[in-house]
């Protein structure tokens, strides 16, 4: 009789922990320019290799290489760089405001700025994003979203457009193509598919863009979204932001070990790409490719953006407890802002002086917006929306039982 070793349970574990460096070879990086760029009408099954490779454009010297290095207007790149800088400054200031107890809670997107911003610049007006709480770049990339109003939401003050009902960062901007943030993970992914289906039902030209993190891909809504998107060939981009960490949970616990999140798409009949999320040019080019597929009735595209959550999950988290404190410094895909800056300088479209000037100008802009928003109060100083408003918007018209309860509260 054959003797077998006793069974044992495999529980994935990151190579790095506090005091032990991460071996980032698990990322299986491709060199810049190496991944092929198929035509947008490619068959989903023919993207298999791209779901395991890594689409990269910028090399370590800031050169744009390979078939995904499509001609991009330097003006757009400068705009993207400024938006990334603005987002990082915004996050830093709001983090500070949270520490000063002006804001109850905050979530920054440090290190991931290129993904939301390059993607936002690849979409058309009227397209609808269904984001997670870490895509504030989708809003900050736009000129039509007032930072003062965003900060009022964070402060939960009298001018909070969410009327004090939502945690800070749970924005909603229908007019800016930004769906209301839930807080329940993954729910928005299938909703994005529904929005795309609706656009197709109506013969519209607008597309949807759904967002999810590596951790939440384990939820049923992720798999449901892939099924529905494929079945109805929905005009939707399905973005998986793989920043390696879901609070303290390494992406291997979500199922990223020895495979990729992009690979899930291919099995569902969806064209899938795995892309360097810290490479602004790659993000923009892949987003444009996926958007064109969607707009041409060619169906959904799943894109795994490989990046790194450089900060804590939220202001309630301390990542030094579960990963090396200097992990981000060793992350091989670098800093998206530094990489785009290097490229722009290399092509003569930017300079150190311009960068320094832009930094100062944006810091002043964010500071001024914060100052103005604070004039309308904060949760801490009690200048918030009336308690009477708590009973509104539960239904379109307030039913009798809520009127009675509002009277009981005496407001």
């Amino acid at each position: 009789m054959t003797q077998h070793e006793a069974l044992h349970l495999h529980v994935p574990e990151p190579t790095g922990r506090p005091g032990r460096h991460t071996d980032f070879s698990y990322l299986h990086l491709s060199p810049a320019g190496a991944a092929r760029r198929p035509p947008v009408d490619t068959q989903p099954v023919d993207t298999s290799d791209l779901a395991y490779a890594l689409v990269r454009v910028l090399d370590d010297e800031g050169r744009a290489l390979g078939p995904w290095a499509v001609q991009t207007d330097p003006q757009l790149l400068r705009r993207g760089l400024r938006a990334m800088m603005k987002t990082r400054i915004f996050d830093a200031r709001m983090l500070l405001a949270q520490r000063q107890k002006k804001i109850s809670f905050y979530m920054q997107c440090l290190g991931e700025e290129a993904i939301a911003i390059a993607h936002a610049l690849a979409l058309d007006p009227g397209d609808m994003c269904f984001p997670t709480y870490r895509q504030q770049g989708l809003l900050l990339a736009r000129d039509d979203v007032d930072m003062v109003e965003m900060i009022c939401q964070l402060l939960s003050n009298e001018r909070d457009p969410m009327k004090g009902r939502q945690l800070p960062v749970m924005y909603s901007y229908k007019r800016a193509g930004f769906f209301s943030i839930s807080g329940n993970l993954a729910t928005q992914f299938i909703q994005a598919v529904g929005w795309g289906m609706a656009s197709a039902i109506k013969g519209d030209s607008r597309i949807a863009s759904g967002w999810i993190g590596d951790g939440a891909t384990a939820e049923a809504d992720f798999h449901t979204a892939l099924t529905f998107a494929h079945v109805y060939r929905a005009p939707v981009i399905l973005n998986v932001v793989n920043n390696q960490w879901a609070i303290s949970t390494f992406q291997a616990i979500a199922g990223g070990e020895a495979t990729t999140f992009a690979a899930r798409g291919v099995g569902c009949g969806i064209a899938s790409l795995r892309v360097d999320g810290n490479d602004f040019l790659a993000v923009h080019a892949a987003s444009r490719w996926a958007a064109e597929r969607a707009r041409r009735n060619l169906g959904p595209t799943l894109i795994e953006w490989v990046t790194y959550r450089a900060g804590p999950h939220s202001t309630s988290d301390d990542p030094s407890k579960y990963r090396p404190a200097d992990d981000y410094a060793h992350f091989p895909l670098g800093d998206p802002i530094a990489r785009l800056k290097q490229h722009l300088i290399a092509i003569g479209a930017w300079s150190e002086q311009e960068h320094e000037d832009a930094q100062k100008e944006l810091e002043a802009q964010v500071a001024a917006a914060q100052k103005e928003a604070e004039r309308y109060g904060s949760l801490a100083d009690g200048h918030m929306r009336s308690a009477a408003e708590m009973f509104e918007d539960v239904y379109k018209d307030m039913p009798e039982h809520l009127r009675r309860q509002r009277q009981q509260l005496g407001v």
């Binding site: 909603s172 329940n184 598919v193 289906m197 529905f228």
Partner: protein, 353 residues
């Protein structure tokens, strides 16, 4: 029963067409698909086949596959896409094949559809209608018989509706589709083909023989948050909905007790005034539902009547419900709160004082 007790629906009976509840529901969707190009209908087996209960039969042929279509077996996906379509501006009318199967969609119903207007301060809304057959009496066992209305009434932001007859079914479904709030539309499947009174050993009376089986062809609504005085009476008030309306009627006829039967129609938010006025008038109240007892919607009704009618009550409020067990298959009629149990509760309510 007297049709003229249904005061607010003053449509001449001459203009009504005999319909089963299935035909009435189909007619409601037909009317709304024709009237509003933003209405879409989908669910499992809903498209070509027309639904396992045939409620959507013929609608795909009439309105095309992009407006009436089959969905994957994924309740979470059906409701999740409906929420997304609502955000776009459509009005999705989706079918969950049996209420017993809505659980995978709970997150999308409770955390998303019900709260979207609130959490976005009105920026986005979910004007969706989620139809689901409920209740027992068809030997469906514990996975085709449940009445989960109390799970929905506990969720703020939802409207929960349950018609008891074809006329109300069509009018309420049109009102639900036109409503800008998410509506859970529970269809008592035992009433699809006739007004079942709980006497399972007797032949089924078809809706064509019942006045409430007469349904106008065109557009009309039965307003949400409006109960009906299904049967006027003076000795006691029965608060009920769905299948139990006819069971209560049978109990009243068989006992000779002059019971006033209030059909809630909209379970929550409800028409409290109609309930309170009746209970204050009769001073006695029996709450009847098919769902399990503990934390059932009957508990809420009893609490509300205690709050609003305490000094008018002559006797403790009686509750007749399904037992606190899963819905059994072989012992279905021991589980079902039939006219004998309801009649006994009527007598207790009259004896006590």
């Amino acid at each position: 029963m007297e049709i003229d007790t249904l005061a607010e629906e003053s449509i001449e009976s001459a203009r009504r067409t005999p319909m089963t509840m299935i035909q009435a529901l189909r007619s409601a969707m037909d009317v709304m698909l024709a009237r509003d190009p933003n209405v879409v209908v989908y669910g499992q087996d809903v498209g070509y086949f027309g639904g396992v209960f045939r409620c959507t039969e013929g609608l795909q042929a009439k309105y095309g596959r992009s407006r009436v279509f089959d969905a994957p077996i994924s309740e979470g996906g059906i409701v999740g896409t409906a929420v997304g379509m609502g955000a776009y501006g459509l009005r999705a009318v989706v079918e969950i094949q049996f209420a017993d199967y809505f659980y995978p969609a709970s997150d999308q119903i409770v955390s998303e559809a019900a709260r979207l207007r609130y959490r976005s301060a009105g920026d986005f809304t979910a004007p969706i209608t989620i139809r689901m057959p409920c209740g027992g009496g068809i030997f469906g066992g514990q996975t085709h018989s449940q009445s989960p209305e109390a799970l929905f009434t506990h969720v703020c932001g939802l409207r929960t509706v349950m018609p008891s007859n074809p006329y109300d079914a069509k009018g309420l479904l049109i009102a639900a589709i036109e409503c800008d709030d998410p509506v859970i539309f529970l269809e008592p499947k035992r009433l699809y083909n006739g007004p079942f009174d709980g006497h399972h050993d007797k032949p089924v009376v078809p809706w064509s023989k019942h006045p409430l089986g007469g349904v106008p062809e065109g557009h009309y609504t039965v307003p949400l948050e409006s109960a009906s005085v299904f049967r006027a009476g003076g000795e006691l008030t029965v608060l009920t909905y769905g299948t139990m309306v006819f069971v209560a009627e049978a109990a009243a006829i068989e006992t000779g007790i002059d019971a006033e039967i209030i059909d809630l129609r909209s379970i929550w938010p409800l028409d409290l005034d109609t309930l309170v006025n009746s209970v204050r008038k009769t001073g006695r109240c029996v709450v009847v539902h098919e769902a399990t007892r503990t934390s059932g919607f009957g508990a809420e009704l009893v609490a509300l009547m205690q709050e609003h009618c305490f000094y008018h009550l002559e006797a403790p409020i009686e509750r007749v419900t399904g037992w606190d067990t899963p819905y059994p298959h072989a012992q279905e009629w021991d589980y079902f709160p039939g006219p004998v149990r309801v009649a006994a509760a009527f007598k207790r309510a009259l004896e006590k004082s």
